[in-house]
Amino acid sequence: MQLSKSSLRLFALAFLILIISNVVILFRVYLSHSSPPTTQITLTQRELRLPYKNKQDSSIYLRISYRVSTTDTSCYNQNNPKWLDTKLLKKLGFNIDQYRDLKYNKTIMPRKVFVVLQYGGVNYKNLLKNAKERVLKHQLLYEKNKNNKSYKQHYEDAKIDLQNEQLYRSKLFVIDAGLNPKKLRQKYDDDQKFIIVGAIVSIYRYHNTKNKKKFYGFIKKLLIPKIYVPQKYHYIFDYKTKNKLKYEVQLNYTNLYEPYIKSIKRISY
C-alpha cells in the first residue's frame, strides 16, 4: 500500500511518542536516583517479606510489612492508629464537619497523603514489653494452677506471642501522617530510623453508644507496597528455605519518596 504523507507523519509521531516517553521516564529516574536519598535505612526479612513464588513470574519483589499500634479497643478497624484522630484527618484534607452534619449516607473518598514509618521505636518496645509481661503473668497463673489446661494454654500462647514479637514480626510502625513530606522529614529527622512514604488514608464513620457520629481514619495502603529486587540479588532468595531465610536490605528512598534497593546481604539460613 502506498504510504501517504499523512500516514508517514503519523507513524513518525508514533515513533516520537515512544522515544520521548522513554527519555522522560528514564531522565526522571536518573534525576531522582542521583539526588541525595531522603531515607537510608537497613531493614530485615521481618519488614521486607518475600511473597510466595509465582510460577508465571520470574521477578522477585519484597513486600513492605508495617504495623499500626492500636490501643483504642472501641475501634472497629484494627488498622486504625489512635493518633490518626479527627484533628489530623482534617489537616489531611478530610472535610469531617461536612460529613458530620449530613443526615444521609455518603461514601467518603480516600486521600493520598504521606506517612512516617518508624523502625524499632517506642511502639515496638512497648509491644515487646507487654508480651514479656504477659508471659510472666500467665506463667505465675499456670504455676499456681498446674492442673488447669486453660492456664497452660494461655501460658503457651503468651510464649509463642513473645517469640513472634522477638523474632518474626515487623518492627516498622506507622506513627504519623501529613501532606508535606519535607515538613515530616524535619519533624522526624533521623533518616536511618524514619521513612517518609506516600500512602492512602481512608476514613469510616460510625455511631457510638450515645448515637453520636464518630470518625476513624485508617491506612488503606502504601503507594508503593512492594519493592523490585534486581536480578543480581536473586541468588539470595532461595524459595526452598524461604521460612528460614534471613537477610538485611539497605533501602534508600529518592527525593520523590520512591524506594530502591542499595544492597542486600544474606545473614544466615
Binding site: 500500500m1 504510504l3 507513524f11 509521531l13 508514533a14 521516564i25 520470574s58 486521600r111 536480578q231 543480581k232
Partner: protein
C-alpha cells in the same frame, strides 16, 4: 460520485456497493421488460464498472461481492483474536523470563521491542495489499509499549500515575489514524477516558486509582467523545461510530450505576433524591438519544439508547413491584411494557419513513 474524488477505502466500498446495486436493479428492470439498453451501451457501462471495481480492489482491497464481504468479516474477527493472542503471549513471556535478566538487558528489550514492532507495522503496511497483518503488528507494538512503561515503573518502583494512560492513548490514537484501524482507536479511547476520568477525580480530591468509585468522573469524557463524533472524518472508516458508541457507553453505564447507588455521587443530597434525579436524567437522555439517532440516521445510537431506556424502565419496575407482586404478574408487566415500547418504536419508524 466521480472517480477522482475517491481517496479512501470507505468511499471506494460505497461506490462499488452502488455499482452492484445498480446492476441488480437493472437486471430486474430488464426482466420485467421495463427497460432495454442497447448492447453497445450495456457493454460500455459494464466495462467501465469492471475497470473501476478492479482498480478499487487493487488500490483499496475492497469487497466486490457479498461472499467476499462475509469472508472479510471473518478475517477481521480472526485478526482480532490473533492480535489478542500475540499480545497476551508477549505479556506472559516477559513475566516468565525477564526477572532472570540484568536491568540493562531488561531496559534494552523493553525500549527496543515496541520500536521494532512499530517498524514492522510500517513495513507490513507499505508492502501488504491488505492491512490485516500491519494492524496485528500495531496492536503488538502497543502491547509492548504498555509493558515498556509498566515494567520500567516496576523496576524503579515509580509511583503509579494516570499520565501513563495519556501516553498510551496518544500512541494508539496516532496509530489508529495512520492505519485506519478502529480497534486501535477503541483502545486509545479507553486509555484516554481513564486519563481524563482519573484527572477529573483527582481535581475533586480522590486518589486517581479510585476514579471508578465516582461514576460521574466519566461524564466529561463522554460529552467530549460525543462532540468529536460529529467532526469530519470521512477518510476513516467507522471512526465516528466508535466515538459515538464509546460516548454513549461512558455516559449511560455510569448513569445507570449512580441511579441505583446514589451515595457514591458527588452531589451533596440524600441518596434517594440523587437516585431519582439520575433515573429521570436516564429516561430523558435515552429517549432524547433515540430521537437524535433517528433524526441523524445513527443506528448504533438508537440501539444503545433503546437498550438503556429499557434497562432504566425494568430497573424501576423491579424497585417498585418485585417484592409486592406475584412473580407471574411482574413478568406479565415486563412483557406488556416490551410490547408497548415495540409499538411506539414501530409508529416512530412509520412516521420517519413517510418524512
Amino acid at each position: 460520485m466521480s472517480t477522482k474524488e475517491i481517496n479512501s477505502k470507505l468511499e471506494a466500498q460505497h461506490r462499488v456497493d452502488q455499482i452492484l446495486s445498480f446492476e441488480a436493479e437493472l437486471k430486474i428492470l430488464e426482466d420485467e421488460q421495463l427497460i432495454s439498453l442497447k448492447t453497445d451501451s450495456l457493454k460500455k457501462i459494464k466495462n467501465y464498472h469492471k475497470t473501476l471495481i478492479d482498480r478499487y480492489a487493487l488500490d483499496f482491497d475492497i469487497d466486490t461481492c457479498t461472499a467476499k464481504k462475509q469472508l472479510s468479516l471473518g478475517m477481521k474477527i480472526v485478526s482480532f483474536l490473533a492480535a489478542l493472542g500475540f499480545g497476551a503471549s508477549i505479556f506472559f513471556l516477559f513475566y516468565q523470563f525477564w526477572g532472570d535478566l540484568s536491568i540493562s538487558t531488561q531496559l534494552t528489550i523493553l525500549i527496543a521491542t515496541p520500536i521494532l514492532l512499530l517498524g514492522l507495522t510500517i513495513y507490513l503496511y507499505r508492502y501488504e495489499k491488505t492491512s490485516y497483518y500491519s494492524k496485528i503488528a500495531a496492536l503488538l507494538s502497543f502491547s509492548a509499549f504498555f509493558l515498556n512503561i509498566t515494567m520500567i515503573g516496576e523496576i524503579y518502583n515509580i509511583t503509579p500515575s494516570p499520565n501513563a494512560f495519556l501516553v498510551w492513548a496518544a500512541f494508539t490514537i496516532t496509530l489508529a489514524y495512520a492505519l485506519d484501524a478502529r480497534m486501535l482507536l477503541g483502545v486509545g479511547i479507553i486509555s484516554f477516558s481513564v486519563f481524563i476520568s482519573a484527572r477529573f477525580g483527582v481535581y475533586h480530591g480522590c486518589y486517581w486509582l479510585d476514579f471508578g468509585d465516582r461514576p460521574e468522573n466519566f461524564f466529561p469524557i463522554a460529552f467530549a467523545l460525543f462532540a468529536i463524533s460529529f467532526l469530519e472524518q470521512q477518510k476513516y472508516f467507522g471512526f465516528d461510530t466508535i466515538y459515538r458508541i464509546s460516548a454513549m457507553l461512558l455516559f449511560f453505564f455510569p448513569l445507570l450505576i449512580v441511579s441505583n447507588w446514589g451515595e457514591i455521587s458527588y452531589i451533596q443530597m440524600d441518596k434517594n433524591n440523587i437516585e431519582i434525579l439520575y433515573q429521570i436524567i436516564g429516561f430523558i437522555s435515552s429517549a432524547f438519544a433515540i430521537f437524535i439517532g433517528i433524526k441523524k440516521g445513527f443506528n448504533d445510537m438508537i440501539y444503545i439508547a433503546n437498550t438503556f431506556f429499557v434497562i432504566f424502565l425494568y430497573t424501576k419496575f423491579y424497585d417498585w413491584w418485585w417484592d409486592m407482586m406475584p412473580k407471574y404478574l411482574f413478568f406479565l408487566i415486563i412483557g406488556l411494557s416490551g410490547v408497548i415500547v415495540l409499538a411506539v418504536l414501530k409508529r416512530v419508524r412509520v412516521v420517519n419513513a413517510t418524512i
